[in-house]
Amino acid sequence: MKLISGVMPARRTVGLLALTLIIGLLLLDQVQSIPIDPFRAPAPMALGSGQAPAGGHCSNL
């Protein structure tokens, strides 16, 4: 069985790679998403806000 590499990258390197991918995704998202209006941000907590939850969840069909 041929191996791609004899030594795996260090954990720190892989962790940083994961964070870099997240930052890349956020930058990609920034380009195509509607700009956020911070003055229309929801209340800090849903509880007590008087608003129905509007987020997506795995249980949504």
Binding site: G15, A18, L25, P38, A43, H57, S59, N60
Partner: protein, 377 residues
Amino acid sequence: MPVAVATVRVGLLMLIAIMAAVVFVIAGPRSALLILTGLGLGMTLEGLRFGFAGPWRVLITERDGRGLIAQFIAIGICAAVAFPLLAAFPTELTGAYAPVGFAMIAGAFIFGASMQVVMGCGSGTLVNAGSGNLIALIALIGFIAGSFMGTLHLGWWTALGSLPVYTVQGIFGNTLGLSLTLTGLTLLAVLVALRSLPGKRQPQTRLWIAAGLVAGLAILNLIIAGQPWGIVYGLGLWGAKVAEVGGMDVASTAFWSAPTHTLRLQESLLTDVTSLTNIGLITGAFIVMRWRRIADAQTAGISSSGWALMLLAGLVMGYSARVAFGCNVGAFFSGVSTGSLHGWVWFFAAFAGSWQGIKLRTRLMSAVSIPPQLVAQ
């Protein structure tokens, strides 16, 4: 403490503060609180080694039930708070309610099997990737793709046959529903304890602490977001965003054309509940790994077929979790703790899948020559 260690740790604390501050300025206080909640979950899961796939595996292979009993404790604590909250604030809070169906059960079974191949569940894959496990990072890429692909076919799978959405509080009322939930969790814990060997029944102190912290943070998630902790939706959304950049008209598909999902597709990921906690999970695990200066353990090579297998297993995990209305977090933890019947069914189907997945993994690992220590937790 050596200066170099202190410098790294100060830097990590600054990372937490900067992340929260940046998200607060860009997206507002709720998003900042959710990223902090995700960071807390990531640090708890990695720091106290609280997981889902691993404890299921060691119960089956080593008759060690401590980790699974800790999961039941966490879910029970969360349910004890979530049930009254959901009853008192029905317009502001909602549970992880989904229908039981043929595809949902099959999806949970396949997810359970594939998470044993990857040796990381939904939350575990994020945490392992953040803490520097390259195999988990590769599996995560597959997980994202699979979660998105699952959204494209979810309606078709669900139409194969599903019951209406049932909740225990809907059937039995809030008080009896909560009592039955806690009784069910206690019975399962007793069964697991009976299956376990002496000395492997009582969760260690770290697991008690972790169970309390995970439950507390999950309750915070419910209070802040208005909905329970989830993983898979955010990953599917990430895949959808990438597909859009690639030229796909995602918004015209059945799932993403629904108003709730269209809005998520249009708006920033920094306003999406599950994306925020997912990012927090990955970063929190990274922080713990760097804080502890964990020695580099990944020193062996891996075959090309091994990489392909992990990518494929991640894809299967994502697809099956989407069809099953969640993974170990969104369906099992949040489903059971908020009263959804599908959470219980998910657990039994996924556990049966895990049993088969452990056997499958042994065969696959020997075929592709992946050293067992490379896939942690």
